[in-house]
């Protein structure tokens, strides 16, 4: 049993290593090996899901792995899974499997592409599974290397700029986090448990102060802010979001899917796993601030999305907006709000992945993404009559991310609003406006692209092929099923979320 997490973590990397030893020119072999590798990983996460004990709050004792790694610094190779990381792990393994399928058309150094994608998967699992702070940091950073190359080699026209900006931005955030990690290590006595995320939890450093240039700062507040910046860059929280549109637009489809579907969640996961439990008092005192930032994300992201003429950029900004809802749910610090936030992380992962995949499918046919071209003419028109299957899937994805009742986005957003309403009434009301703008830009985009006359160049487009339909099915199913029946996910997180919320409640004034 305890080997399960190890297998989930390392199987993608083993697959990547196998890829390196495949003979040159056998692109199909490379694709199939990576497909099998990610599929097996997905099956393993399903097994993990089956064996998951929903009654245990916190880490599942059955799966814990703990091996000393660097004893001089009390660093452990420590893995574990709880109700907050479990949905993320499912999401990760599912999306990577789908991404391999969607990348079938990649022909430029195929081997390198798939190997890097698999490396990325391993490091993402590492982030979601590790319970040692040092280990967490290593995975958090390692992830940047495959991302950098994936964007920089297989990206669009302006790929280099996007790749470098992404790398530098995230690196900057994580360096601040590293300073925080080390400070925590020493403040907790540099003992065996000092890098142990679970051991550090509980808000032990309320009265600790540190002095910088003669000014005294509260230890907890200062390092909460440090780590907040590190995670906020990843989410991305306004004003740290400027890397995101570039990275998304330039990245190849599969990488956009991973970026929006999984990597953004690492930021909010960081809040849930690290910032909030370790500095609960700081989290509580900053909660209003977090809520306002979330609101800015919701409104600003939605307005930016509305202004876009590039459909991929539009989806990228809609991610900023939707991650704002997650922030709102976190700021609530209530059971419903946190449940909603985690569920929204999962649901946004599936719905935004659908949207990016669909844009990618369209791009393979049109080789452009203009809703309205710079010269004012329409980029697409009448796709609905031209590509019926594509349109149906697009409608499902769009309505899911819009939050239409019956589809997944609705439940999580409703939970978030339920959770936050009593605490931040004004913010809730304003955030609902964001929802409205969300509906507006999506429908407007849909109208411009899918209705109206079929423009000349769209007549040559072919509808989705079997492979494309095949990999859209799981996402459609997830979006619809979890829209009607969210309990499979909610049940898993219930106990862990309850534990976190009760910890935070202890510090509420």
């Amino acid at each position: 049993m305890s080997g399960l997490l190890n297998w989930i973590l390392w199987l993608p990397l083993i697959t990547a290593l196998i890829l390196l030893f495949t003979p040159k020119g056998k692109d199909n072999l490379v694709r199939w090996i990576s497909l099998v590798g990610t599929f097996l990983t997905f099956l393993l996460t399903i097994v993990l899901y089956m064996k998951f004990d929903t009654t245990v709050p916190g880490m599942q004792p059955a799966f814990n792995v703990s091996v000393p790694w660097i004893e001089s610094f009390h660093i452990f190779y420590k893995l574990g899974v709880d109700g907050i990381s479990m949905p993320m792990i499912l999401l990760t393994s599912l999306l990577f499997f789908i991404c391999i399928l969607s990348s079938w058309t990649i022909t430029k150094s195929t081997k390198g592409y798939f190997a890097l994608l698999l490396m990325l998967e391993a490091s993402v699992f590492g982030v979601f599974l590790s319970l040692d702070f040092f280990l967490f940091y290593v995975f958090w950073e390692v992830m940047l290397i495959p991302m950098f190359f994936l964007i920089g080699i297989w990206g669009g026209e302006n790929k280099e700029y996007a790749a470098v900006k992404f790398f530098l931005y995230t690196f900057f955030g994580s360096i601040l986090m590293l300073v925080g990690i080390i400070a925590l290590y020493y403040v907790s006595g540099a003992t065996t448990n000092s890098f142990d995320i679970l051991h550090l939890q509980g808000g032990k450093w309320i009265n600790e102060t540190i002095s910088i240039f003669g000014h005294n700062f509260s230890f907890a507040n200062l390092f909460f802010v440090f780590m907040f910046i590190g995670f906020a860059i990843k989410v991305p929280v306004f004003p740290f979001h400027t890397w995101l549109p570039h990275a998304h637009v330039q990245a190849p489809t599969a990488v956009s899917v991973i970026l929006a579907g999984v990597l953004l969640k690492m930021g909010t996961y960081g809040f849930l796993r690290i910032s909030f439990p370790i500095f609960p008092q700081a989290a509580v005192s900053f909660s209003t601030c977090i809520a306002w930032l979330g609101l800015i994300n919701v409104i600003y992201g939605a307005l930016c999305a509305m202004a876009q003429t590039d459909v991929k950029k539009l989806i990228a900004y809609s991610s900023v907006s939707h991650m704002g809802f997650v922030m709102l749910g976190l700021a609530a610090m209530t059971v419903q709000g946190t449940n909603g936030a985690v569920l929204q992380m999962f649901n946004h992962g599936t719905s935004t992945a659908m949207m990016f995949l669909l844009v990618g499918i369209l791009y393979e046919r049109s080789h452009h993404r203009w809703i309205v071209r710079p010269d004012g003419s329409r980029g697409f028109g009448g796709l609905y009559t031209q590509l019926p299957k594509f349109s149906i899937v697009f409608i499902i994805g769009m309505f899911a991310s819009m939050g239409l009742p019956g589809l997944s986005g609705f439940i999580s957003e409703a939970l978030i609003f339920l959770g936050i309403f009593q605490k931040f009434t004004t913010i809730t009301v304003l955030a609902v406006v964001g929802l409205l703008i969300g509906a507006a830009y999506l429908l407007w985009m849909f109208k411009r692209m899918f209705f109206g006359d079929v423009i000349e160049e769209c007549k040559s487009y072919t509808d989705m092929n079997a492979r494309e339909i095949f990999y859209m099915i799981p996402l459609c199913v997830a979006v619809i099923v979890f829209g009607i029946w969210p309990s499979p996910i909610l049940n898993i997180m219930k106990a862990s979320v309850g534990k976190l919320v009760s910890l935070l409640a202890g510090f509420e004034a």
Partner: protein, 488 residues
């Protein structure tokens, strides 16, 4: 006395081996008429000598701190560890010199011999235990370095670099000597051993003289490790000097100076008081400036060698953080940093040397599209660049992590954040090389002769530790931990 002297010599075997190698090679070189043959034998001889020296150093690691030659030098695990790193760096420089076109064919033997001579100076500096030995070490290292810097006789820039080095070196050595004389005037001794009690009973007047005296003294060491504001010479000298020499300069003088600085800080400034406050305050400012200036100036360079020069200034700044904490955690962090810095620097210079030999210059553009032509070499260069920037799971990250722990343990949060932010800046210019190699197309399609098997083997040998020490660094941690305690 005679027996005692012999016992002291036994402690000094590694240095003696290096000296004997140097002398022997001089004779060997003189006995052969044919240049080709002489170069080959001298090359092999120098490598053998260095390996033997390395082995004896490793054996010396067992020896607990022992002062030798009436307290003139201190043989302790700390200095021995630094010497091991320097010897490895010298071996690397000798090998790069062997394959590089930058060292003229007719001067190869002289290069090997001089480099070993400079190493002896570096070793002396690393274990110097009184002011005079320290000065002797600095000068031995410097004088040979002046010659090495201007080794490309027909190149104006090399001559310029030699001259600049002489001027800077001469002036700063003079200033250092001036400072030392004041220190001697106040303390009445040049010894490091037993100086602490004297420091405790100083009058405020004497402290007022000592503080500027130490500042002057710092000029000499500061110039060796090339920290701000004594760094001006280093980019020009690095750029003008032949590439193998630059690699040597980036490793040996820097680490030797750093070791001496650690020892001086530990000896004179481990007790709290005005003196410590002044010295460490100066070092903190210097460290911060060095990190900022080195890394910011590296951004806009067009020559890779010059970029590496500025980046090595930045690394010196990071290492200085290990000095300002004045404790064993800082010392072990410096040792760890030294080991990883050695491998990263050798890797970077080795590849740069190969590229600049192919194209006769080392502009950034020459790295364009390198991945297609030399996949293995480019991947290794990427690893080295990421490691220099401090991206996990590579050794450079662990080294920075160690330094940061030392700084944060002493609550130097501001310095830690500066170190972090400047390493983000450094990532930018290291990524420039990665970008050119991986994302760009090559300038032309001309076929270039391959990267030989031996070269591949060596570059792998240099890069593997960079990856390995990033993941399995417990063993090295134990070693540097054991070597980090400087007893006086």
């Amino acid at each position: 006395m005679g027996i005692n002297y012999l016992a002291n010599l036994a402690l000094y075997i590694p240095e003696l081996i290096a000296i004997v190698t140097m002398m022997g090679l001089l004779f060997l070189e003189a006995t052969y008429k044919q240049d080709e043959k002489a170069h080959k034998y001298v090359f092999i001889g120098s490598l053998i000598g260095m390996v033997v020296c390395l082995v004896s150093l490793i054996l010396n690691m067992q020896i607990a701190a022992t002062p030798a030659f009436t307290n003139a030098v201190m043989i302790d695990p700390f200095s021995t560890m630094v010497k091991i790193i320097m010897t490895l760096g010298t071996i690397g420089a000798i090998y790069i010199g062997h394959s590089s076109k930058d060292v003229y064919q007719g001067l190869k033997s002289e290069f090997y011999i001089l480099v070993i001579g400079a190493l002896v100076g570096g070793m002396l500096l690393a274990s110097a235990n009184n002011m005079l030995t320290l000065y002797l070490g600095v000068e031995t290292l410097s004088i040979i370095s002046y010659v090495l810097a201007s080794f490309k006789k027909n190149d104006d820039r090399s001559a310029e670099s030699g001259l600049k080095y002489v001027l800077y070196g001469g002036i700063s050595a003079g200033i250092m000597l001036f400072g030392m004389s004041h220190i001697y005037g106040v303390l009445g001794t040049i010894q490091f051993t037993g100086v602490l009690p004297k420091l405790a009973s100083l009058s405020s007047m004497e402290i007022a003289i000592l503080m500027p005296a130490f500042l002057l003294f710092f000029a000499g060491l500061g110039y060796k490790i090339a920290c701000v504001p004594f760094h001006m010479w280093s980019p020009d000298v690095y750029e003008g000097a032949p590439l193998p020499v630059t690699a040597f300069f980036a490793i040996v003088p820097k680490l030797a100076g750093m070791a001496a600085l650690v020892r001086v800080s530990m000896v004179f400034f481990s007790n709290e008081g005005m003196l410590q406050y002044g010295w460490l305050g100066t070092l903190q400012v210097v460290a911060a400036l060095t990190m900022i200036v080195g890394n910011v100036a590296a951004i806009n360079q067009r020559s890779v060698k010059r970029m590496l020069a500025y980046s090595s200034i930045g690394h010196a700044g990071v290492m200085l953080l290990g000095v300002v904490v004045v404790d064993a955690i800082g010392a072990r962090a410096i040792l760890f940093y030294g080991v990883t810095y050695l491998f990263m620097t050798l890797g970077a210079f080795y590849i740069t040397s190969f590229v600049s030999d192919k194209y006769d210059n080392d502009h950034f553009d020459r790295f364009s599209g390198l991945l297609k032509r030399y996949p293995l070499m480019s991947i290794m260069m990427c690893i080295v660049m990421f490691s220099l920037a401090g991206v996990p799971p590579l050794a450079g990250f662990v080294a920075k992590f160690n330094i940061l722990t030392a700084a944060i343990n002493k609550q130097f949060y501001t310095l830690a954040v500066i170190a972090g932010v400047t390493s983000v800046i450094s990532l930018y210019y290291y990524l420039k090389i990665v970008r050119l190699m991986v994302f760009k197309e090559a300038e032309s399609d001309e076929k270039i002769e391959g990267f030989g098997f031996l070269n591949q083997l060596i570059i792998i040998g240099v890069t593997v530790p960079v990856v390995f020490l990033g993941i399995f660094w417990e063993k090295l941690m134990i070693i540097v931990n054991g070597a980090s305690i400087l007893t006086q």
